[in-house]
């Protein structure tokens, strides 16, 4: 009941405030992985349109850009001491977790929206992994571990002042694509706030693909595993033989 009421309230809230619209432009919709790929950066531009000028905002605009990679089931394992050794005994499965996550905002998220709003709209790395509408008491250890490990691996990032306003209604942000980003579709979600109220929300997307040689190798490995294996074996034998020819002393 409480959740339904909240959702209704949110709808009304959003409709009442819907004076602004947003137009987004992403510098590219395709990130190509080549042999020299070490990560990439995309630039997103946004224009806030308040043509009707029906509402005059007292507070400045706040923008939160969230780029999330393909979703995956992820297991977080915890090492527990068993006799003399440490082994993975406890684990918790997260069914639907973005493989990469970048959240860029114009100022710290805590200043932009209330905790309730943050949780509902998935603002802040913590809220994204929280099952929506779940405020039962549960152990956050595994969730925090997941976020920490993903941050250390460079897959999750947050930048609290990464959105810059070029004019009061045009903003720009850099979306990082990590070096180890998995292939697939990435969603970019942009939320516009002012004075703690969500004004507009737009999304766009991009795709990470392998091209050329990398694509050919990965495809060969998957579609023609026997030939791929044979080629690797032949390569090893040829190199091994070549070495005896080059270094032959007698």
């Amino acid at each position: 009941m409480r959740r339904a009421a909240l959702a209704l309230l949110a709808c009304w809230w959003a409709a009442a405030a819907r004076a602004e619209t947003m137009v987004l432009s992403l510098s590219s919709h395709r990130v190509q992985i080549t042999s020299t790929y070490t990560g990439a950066e995309l630039v997103i531009f946004g224009v806030i349109d308040n043509e009707r000028r029906s509402v005059t905002r007292q507070e400045p605009y706040d923008v939160v850009v969230t780029a999330a990679g393909p979703r995956a089931s992820t297991v977080v394992r915890q090492k527990v001491r068993l006799g003399p050794i440490w082994m993975n005994l406890a684990q918790r499965k997260f069914a639907d977790v973005p493989t990469t996550l970048a959240q860029i905002s114009s100022r710290p998220i805590v200043q932009i929206a209330s905790p309730d709003l943050r949780r509902r709209f998935g603002l802040g790395l913590d809220s994204i992994l929280d099952p929506a509408g779940y405020d039962l008491i549960y152990d956050p250890t595994f969730r925090t571990a997941l976020i920490r490990l993903q941050r250390e691996a460079g897959l999750y990032r947050s930048e609290e002042r990464g959105v810059t306003f070029i004019t009061p209604s045009i903003f720009r942000a850099v979306v990082p694509v990590p070096a180890t980003a998995p292939l697939g579709g990435y969603d970019v979600d942009v939320a516009l706030f002012s004075g703690g109220v969500l004004l507009a929300r737009e999304d766009t997307n991009f795709e990470v693909t392998k091209v050329g040689f990398e694509q050919a190798v990965a495809q060969a490995a998957r579609q023609h595993p026997i030939w791929y294996g044979a080629a690797t074996a032949l390569m090893s034998v040829a190199f091994g033989w070549l070495a005896t020819v080059i270094f032959r002393r007698d």
């Binding site: 992820t74 977080v76 440490w86 493989t99 074996a233």
Partner: protein, 307 residues
């Protein structure tokens, strides 16, 4: 300079991989071991996923054992018949090993299995080699040459299916030979090692094969077992990274040549002591990983990506 590895799906420094290949190649050339037991842990350490490290390392072992086998074949220090029997067992062991590898990977206990097996293998083999070489050095100092084992044949020589191996001066049942080869082939496929450091002492101490033909024969067997392992890993788990393999092979081939030259200037017992210490050091490194309280208690396992 970075290069993107298409199967491991991450960029890595070319010079780092070439350097590791050369360093391990140097040690392997110096001691006549494949170096897999050093290379696979190093690859995992620099961030290559364990599955890719194990599968890819088989290609590097194949290349280095090819080089070695040719050199011993030219010196006629290779028993093809014995090698063939060991190979038959090795291929069976590899098939079982790859199947076990894939099953453990699904269960999420692959890392622990790899670590525990490394500790057991490296600890026991390193310990045996250490005591043996220390004994040899002590008796050398006293001026007595240590005899290689007792006289007479152990019981397993007389099992059924005896076969004569002329070059190895051996008349023995093939069953214990096959059993040994299956065991080593299994360990090789699971751990990404050639097993030379197991095969060579086993042939010398358990089967009394003359030292002169042991290394060549073991290399011959490893070469073909590893070629089978490449095919099996490629076909069943698609974790062989050909680019990574090429870099490792290239670095390893050069390192091995210089290692072989450096190895000629070391005395036999010192040589075995050094190898024992290297093997033990890697074992201790693995043991510390699971015995000491780890810095990071948590780890992530990706199950599947929805594309």
């Amino acid at each position: 300079m970075q290069i993107y590895l298409p199967i491991a799906e991450l960029p890595i420094s070319i010079f780092l991989v070439l350097g590791i290949g050369a360093a391990v190649g140097f040690i392997s050339g110096m001691f006549g071991v494949g170096g897999g037991f050093l290379m696979t842990p190093l690859l995992i350490f620099i961030g290559i996923p364990p599955a890719v490290a194990v599968a890819t390392e088989t290609a590097q072992i194949a290349a280095s054992s090819m080089t070695g086998a040719i050199a011993y074949w030219r010196r006629r220090a290779l028993d093809f018949k014995l090698g063939g029997v060991l190979l038959a067992g090795g291929v069976v062991g590899t098939v079982l090993g790859v199947a076990f590898f894939n099953a453990m990977r699904r269960l999420g206990q692959l890392d622990l299995v790899i670590t525990l097996s490394y500790i057991t293998l490296l600890g026991s083999v390193g310990g045996l080699m250490l005591t043996e070489s220390l004994k040899a050095m002590l008796s050398a100092r006293k001026g007595i040459s240590a005899p290689l084992g007792r006289a007479g044949h152990p019981w397993y020589f007389g099992l059924p299916l005896r076969m004569r191996f002329n070059r190895s001066k051996l008349y023995v049942s093939v069953l214990p030979l096959l059993f040994l080869a299956i065991l080593i082939g299994f360990a090789g496929a699971v751990l990404g090692i050639g097993g030379g450091f197991l095969m060579v002492p086993a042939l010398i101490y358990l089967f009394r094969v003359p030292t002169a033909v042991v290394v060549g024969t073991s290399l011959f067997q490893i070469l073909f077992t590893m070629l089978a392992a490449i095919m099996l890993h490629a076909a069943t788990n698609q974790s062989v990274d050909i680019i990574l393999a090429m870099l490792l092979v290239f670095g390893g081939v050069f390192g091995a040549q210089f290692g072989a030259r450096a190895g000629q200037n070391i005395r036999g017992d010192h040589f075995r002591l050094l190898l024992a210490l290297i093997v033990l050091a890697v074992g201790v490194r693995f043991a510390s990983e699971i015995v000491l309280r780890p810095d990071e208690l948590f780890s992530l396992g990706l199950i599947e990506i929805r594309r």
